[in-house]
Symmetry: C2
Subunit: 167 residues, 2 copies
């Protein structure tokens, strides 16, 4: 396979994966492009490589920066901004996990906690509801804290230890 073909395939695949995970396609593609670029790229570079508009590029670059997985870079004597991706993949995973936890899991936990505090458990339905949501709360909370712990070890020795444990 040609380099340009391989690169394109990688960007498309990463974009598709993004969509399935609730991240918009372009955002994932820009990230893919920056990951495999040895040099920082300008907005123009990104627009022309991915055939997207200025507005689209601008907005998605901002989102990626908000997520903390790409950074701005300035070149001496140049006004234009350049962008690079987080280079360390463990760190990338850590940031994504943290962000999704903050945006999705934590709010869900708050709702679960709220609805499981239902006082009135007269009916069979209400009692079952309370039990199930409590169980769900426990589970989600446990999973979230596991994820947090696994990803918080930057050196990632714990991951290796776990894998060894489970051989």
């Amino acid at each position: 396979m040609e380099f340009s073909q391989a690169k394109n395939k990688f960007i498309q695949t990463w974009g598709a994966l993004g969509s399935q995970w609730g991240i918009n396609k372009t955002m994932a593609q820009i990230h893919a492009l920056l990951m495999v670029s040895p040099e920082a790229l300008s907005m123009e570079d990104i627009m022309s490589e991915l055939h997207i508009s200025r507005g689209n590029a601008s907005m998605n670059l901002r989102s990626l920066i908000d997520w903390g997985i790409i950074f701005k870079e300035y070149k001496a004597g140049e006004r234009r901004e350049y962008f690079v991706a987080e280079g360390n993949i463990d760190e990338l995973a850590r940031k994504i996990a943290k962000e999704r936890s903050k945006r999705e899991i934590k709010p869900t936990l708050r709702v679960l906690e709220e609805v499981t505090n239902l006082e009135n458990t007269d009916t069979k339905e209400a009692a079952h509801f309370k039990a199930k949501t409590a169980e769900l709360y426990e589970f989600v909370s446990r999973a979230d804290s596991m994820l947090e712990k696994i990803t918080d070890y930057k050196e990632n020795w714990i991951t290796k230890t776990i894998l060894k444990l489970m051989k």
Copy 2:
């Protein structure tokens, strides 16, 4: 809070969470409804509780069955079908993890493997590309196998062990 309010809030929240994870809203809502229902529900029940059409209900029930997280139930002497959710939450998580791995992670791994096999690494770009995709392959592959191992232990002792280890 009233039971019916709490129930509604839970269903809405679960639906919203689903969308963010690439699962359609109705599918997640049906699942939420069945999870908190002590009795099996018919398609009619689901349609009227969620105010959705027959076609929508039928299609999403099928998807949920394909995922293995809800089941059909037949009542003696009744022609109509009833549905119940997987009751065990660990088992639910295991099935979801397995399904997403099969549908998304495994295909991604195949592409990563393919593109990283690029022969020609003359240019700096190509060399960097090969290195990055290889690194990504290693990472995704490691994460996938961890997930598999964690969720495969039905009794889940390993999860508890890990949490203890990381205190």
